[in-house]
Symmetry: C2
Subunit: 336 residues, 2 copies
């Protein structure tokens, strides 16, 4: 089934959305919010599924789907842990600055604790006080939402706790990252509010495309209207979602509604860094990666980070060309 | 007023607690949970205050206060950002390993993004799969809970958003910290679930003890029943809570219910590292700090981190000797 949250109050109002993303219908009498549904999944998921099937079959009319009415599926969450499972991405960052990547990065997942109290809506502006110094960038990723995960869960068992799948723009401020990482406490100001896709879906909705804890479809990003990347999220993902969940749950239980991100999707090409779209490659899922390629090739980057007025969109399509999660489409805007 | 959350469901049920911590009374008809109260503070805080005053005056009988019935005030939260405002603590850590501390640490707050989906109850065991390798430690801190904070708030204006004050045991796994910090993404597995005091209070409840964004009272920790530290939280706090809130809100708004921690409370002594309790000093708020002093003095630490069965308690008293927030009292236990 497909679920979304209509903007209402702080936590939205839960709706089911049909497969074609043309209709949606309230389910607030089953579960007022998505967090409520996740908190009570065993009790409510079958009822939500029934309602979804009625909308699909047309026995329930619903209303016209309108993405502008939607918040992120969880407008605020209790846990947002973002992995960096496409180690190729990390290797490239290091390579661009001439640094060696530790071998353990291939066996021990990188993950940062994200802030999750104020997610942006999928069509909401990214509002910042400045652009130049902040180095505003997008990061296109896949993310899953879990049920209650016990501490110490194994990577294989962890797969059973995946309730929903969605995509995300993990907004990043490149200009603030070096200073924060030098302090040794990880990201904080350099990772402002992220935006998730309008719609999240159960794994069964993805059929064979979701297997072995990976989503095997291209993730398509556009920057200022031009295609920027379409790497396949199932390729070069060193750690599957079960491994990422197990990493997060090593020393703590995870609450229902925990969001785990894949990290920036990135594909190699014949064992080498991938090529840009205009060079015939699969492109990239963030500007930083293109700049790294430019730096490796030309000694310096030529593509600038996002300026006020620039736009990014992120979307994923199934094998029939149907948008699965709807579109994240955001513009960078100066705060007044 | 004093507020607490009786264990019930995932988010507890809000109660008011009298000043002497002997009585508590339900306020669920005003606000079912503390998060609800914070989400609707303008509408409900006066009503909660009325109920508190009735409990104080005896016109409302209430029930006997029972800390074992209480969860952390927010059993789970949407944002937990922990500062490290007692720079003395950081300087000591560095000194013990012979490293220089950057001068900017005195002007730019250290802060890490904490996980906040599964806080421990104030009397709940700290359950871990191992003790030796994990290096289990407590960190006694002060914390505040905010209302909705706009992005870019100034440190002075930020003080107006402090709704509640409490204390916290920021459980830390010293054995996992070096590996995580070396990866560059900050703490994750090394900072498992924290536990907060049973009771949180409004700033006015603290009178003159809470001023200039600092809580000017000793924070008392016991380790296995012996007094371990009583440093004054108002002394040597380089960044006050307004500065910590402003730091957290530089590139994002903060949601009502955001918890900001002070970092481990630590006092100098005549410009030098403070002394242990048994050496006549104010002692420490974590074992790591004592071990640093031992390392500086003797070349190696002699105090071990927490073993299974070890206990810690953390409490703060007002000038009349009344416990303000109740006691955090936890034992380390092996997971079965």
């Amino acid at each position: 089934m497909k679920l979304a949250s209509v903007k209402q109050g702080r936590d939205g109002q839960l709706v089911v959305v049909n497969k074609a993303l043309t209709k949606m219908a309230s389910v607030h009498f089953i579960a007022p919010t998505l967090q409520y549904a996740l908190d009570n999944w065993e009790r409510v998921s079958a009822k939500l599924e029934d309602r979804y099937n009625q909308l699909e079959s047309g026995s329930l009319e619903g209303e016209d789907y309108d993405a502008s009415m939607l918040a992120s599926p969880l407008p605020r969450a209790f846990q947002w842990a973002d992995g960096s499972a496409y180690v190729n991405h990390v290797e490239l960052v290091r390579k661009a600055r001439g640094a060696q990547m530790p071998e353990t990065f291939w066996t021990d997942p990188l993950m940062y604790q994200g802030g999750c109290d104020t997610f942006l809506a999928p069509l909401e502006d990214i509002v910042m006080p400045q652009d130049e110094g902040f180095g505003i960038d997008f990061e296109a990723e896949v993310a899953i939402i879990t049920g209650d995960v016990p501490m110490g869960v194994s990577p294989t068992d962890a797969l059973d706790y995946i309730r929903l799948v969605m995509i995300v723009n993990d907004v990043s401020l490149r200009g603030l990252i070096p200073g924060e990482l030098a302090k040794g406490f990880g990201f904080f100001q350099s990772k402002p509010s992220s935006a998730f896709s309008p719609v999240c879906v159960t794994p069964n909705e993805l059929g064979d495309s979701f297997k072995d804890g990976k989503l095997h479809l291209p993730l398509v990003s556009h920057f200022n209207g031009s295609k920027f990347g379409e790497p396949n999220a199932g390729v070069d993902m060193t750690f599957h979602f079960g491994e990422l969940i197990a990493h997060a749950a090593k020393t703590r239980a995870l609450c229902a509604g925990t969001i785990i991100g894949s990290g920036t999707v990135s594909n190699k090409l014949n064992g080498e860094p991938g090529k840009a779209i205009n060079a015939g490659g699969a492109g990239y899922s963030c500007i930083a990666e293109l700049r790294m390629i430019e730096t490796i090739q030309d000694g310096k980057p030529s593509t600038e980070f996002m300026k006020f007025g620039d736009s990014v969109s992120i979307e994923m399509f199934d094998q029939q060309g149907q948008s699965i999660f709807g579109q994240i489409a955001q513009r960078v805007k100066q705060s007044s």
